[in-house]
């Protein structure tokens, strides 16, 4: 099952921005080995190469939209765009929002592409995850693990 990719992105030094990486690490332990799980701080446009050839990609990142910290925003990327405001807090380079839209323009979004944004509240350098965001990690790990489990059953 090399056609499912789960990718968590973020910056491990910037407080709640690291939540995507945390979720990916937890999923790496939990999901069957056949599912590729990637935790990356890379420049975001390189994700296009990572999901090339995949039928499914699940992307996890921190977002900042003013919603309560820890809230999970789930977006089906083939059905709708990620609201711009949701990704405005990205501290990345060619941002994740840009990368998703670039993939759409080039026809390089996998057939199933889901985005899980976790609302962060604190992005200071050297900070740990805020309590509300840390508390949300098990729920998002569970949600994604179930999603992947269902996909594996379909096959």
């Amino acid at each position: 099952m090399n056609d499912i990719l789960v990718v968590g992105t973020g910056n491990s030094w910037r407080g709640d921005d690291s939540v995507g990486l945390e979720v990916a690490s937890a999923l790496h332990e939990r999901l069957p080995e056949a599912v590729r799980v990637l935790a990356t701080e890379a420049e975001q446009s390189s994700l296009l190469d990572e999901w090339e050839g995949c039928d499914t990609v699940l992307i996890v990142d921190a977002v900042h939209s003013g919603a309560p910290a820890g809230q999970i925003h789930r977006v089906d990327l083939n059905a709708e765009q990620v609201p711009h405001a949701v990704l405005q807090g990205s501290t990345h380079h060619f941002s994740l929002g840009d990368t998703i839209e670039l993939a759409r323009a080039l026809g390089r979004l996998p057939a199933k592409a889901l985005f899980f944004g976790i609302e962060g509240e604190s992005f200071g350098p050297g900070e740990p995850l805020s309590p509300a965001v840390a508390a949300a990690v098990p729920a998002i790990v569970e949600e994604i693990a179930e999603e992947v489990g269902a996909l594996l059953k379909e096959d």
Binding site: E43, S45, F94, E101
Partner: protein, 432 residues
């Protein structure tokens, strides 16, 4: 309306790493104020490094920047090896250069096509280019992928390469692993040559500055992975260890970053324009030929033409990567042993966007006592502001919207990496 006040302002600079803003205030024909604002909070890396073991510096500092981790690793390794009296030569040095070529390919391709090109082509971003001319963006993505692949094969992982250590590498790749990359790199070279031609056809404002260009002197090769002197076109020529005697860093009120000036000389430029002007004669025949082919002079003073110079450097690192692979022989040992010695030294490398200098002091047990990191963007910031002053002075008659776009473009000429450029100022607490 001689005293009419105009304000040109951008709160968020798209296509610049980190977040920054720009403010230019004009009163009539006078420029009252030019400020490049940095919003990014300070970085804690220098403080975080103190008390760590000296071999940890390359891995820790690699995390400062997602675009140029190799630059940080190399500067840290160069500094630690200088302190401990170890000189890296032969195949290990060549492997480092190859790894770094991968980073330049990735970074220059990203900047030329996806971050800078939209300015010249009149698009808001690469996404709109992808809709109209997908082949342009696909070219960029393929070049980037090849650069990333070089970093993966040599560095172990493309971002924050894990195979790099003080003294060399954990594991040296086989000749066959490197040779497998040759077809891709040959494609990248051919594409880079086309990129130089394409970049030269863009429209450039008629604007030049009399720069002091500064870069590393790598002793007879185009500076990439290191160098022992820091030199300029206006007479600066110092051993690297004197870097902080000549580069004075000032904390400026409007930017949450330190800005570098040359003592008693002022602003200077580091990066592609400087390397090209200082070391043109050291470029390969292919890179020089590409420059000559489009009529690019040996010294480029128009900062907007940095996109062409970056393309020439792209040619250079493709040629260099192919040469390094051709001449590679897997070393018997992937690293030299480095035993800690008490002392301090500077180490530097040429990040894609300019000279990056580190200075460490360690004790006899290898514990880091002090760390100082000066990224290229911290050095270029005063020069970017000077460019903005010069540019606005010359093009004041443009309507606000166009002038704003041109000023943003003038900042992107430097491929600035703002999140790298901020770092923490030590506070002195006075108690009564």
């Amino acid at each position: 309306m001689a005293d009419e006040t105009r304000t040109i302002k951008t709160d968020y600079l798209a296509r610049v790493e980190g977040e920054g803003g720009m403010l230019i205030r004009l009163k009539g024909d006078e420029i009252e104020e030019v400020k490049l604002n940095i919003f990014e909070p300070p970085r804690f890396f220098e403080a975080f490094l103190r008390g760590r073991y000296f071999t940890e510096a390359p891995d820790i500092t690699a995390r400062i920047c997602g675009i140029c981790p190799v630059a940080y690793q190399m500067a840290a390794c160069n500094s630690m090896e200088a302190i401990c009296g170890v000189k890296i030569e032969g195949q290990i040095k060549q492997l480092r250069r190859l790894l770094y070529c991968g980073e330049w390919i990735e970074s220059h391709a990203l900047h030329i096509y996806m971050l800078h090109a939209p300015d010249f082509l009149g698009y808001p971003s690469a996404i709109e280019i992808a809709a109209d001319a997908p082949e342009v963006v696909e070219t960029a993505l393929r070049l980037k992928k090849i650069g990333n692949h070089v970093m993966t094969v040599v560095g172990g992982r493309e971002i924050h390469p894990i195979n790099v250590k003080v003294g060399g590498f954990y594991k040296a790749p086989s000749k066959a692993e490197l040779e497998a990359m040759v077809p891709d790199l040959e494609w990248a070279l051919a594409t880079s040559l086309e990129t130089v031609k394409w970049a030269s056809t863009l429209d450039f404002p008629d604007f030049e500055m009399d720069y002091e260009f500064a870069a590393l002197d790598a002793g007879g090769v185009y500076p990439i992975e290191g160098g022992e002197r820091f030199v300029s076109n206006k007479g600066l020529d110092i051993p690297l260890n004197e870097f902080y005697e000549h580069v004075i860093e000032e904390h400026v009120e409007h930017a949450n970053a330190l800005q570098g000036h040359l003592k008693e000389r002022g602003s200077y430029l580091t990066g592609p324009l400087a390397r090209y002007a200082l070391w043109y004669d050291l470029l390969s025949d292919e890179a020089r030929g590409a420059a000559e082919g489009v009529g690019l002079p040996k010294v480029v003073k128009n900062p907007f033409k940095s996109i062409i110079v970056r393309a020439v450097e792209l040619v250079e690192v493709c040629v260099e990567a192919l040469r390094l692979i051709r001449e590679y022989e897997q070393p018997a040992e992937p690293a030299l042993e480095v035993v800690p010695k008490a002392g301090a030294a500077c180490g530097a490398s040429e990040a894609p966007r300019g000279t990056l200098c580190h200075r460490y002091e360690i004790d006899a047990n290898g514990i880091i006592l002090d760390a100082k990191i000066t990224p290229p963007t911290a050095q270029n910031q005063p020069q970017i502001e000077a460019d903005l002053r010069g540019f606005v002075g010359q093009f004041m008659d443009l309507p606000n919207e166009e002038l704003t776009l041109r000023c943003e473009q003038a900042i992107r000429n430097y491929d600035p990496c703002i999140s790298c450029a901020t770092h923490f100022l030590t506070l002195e607490i006075e108690r009564g």
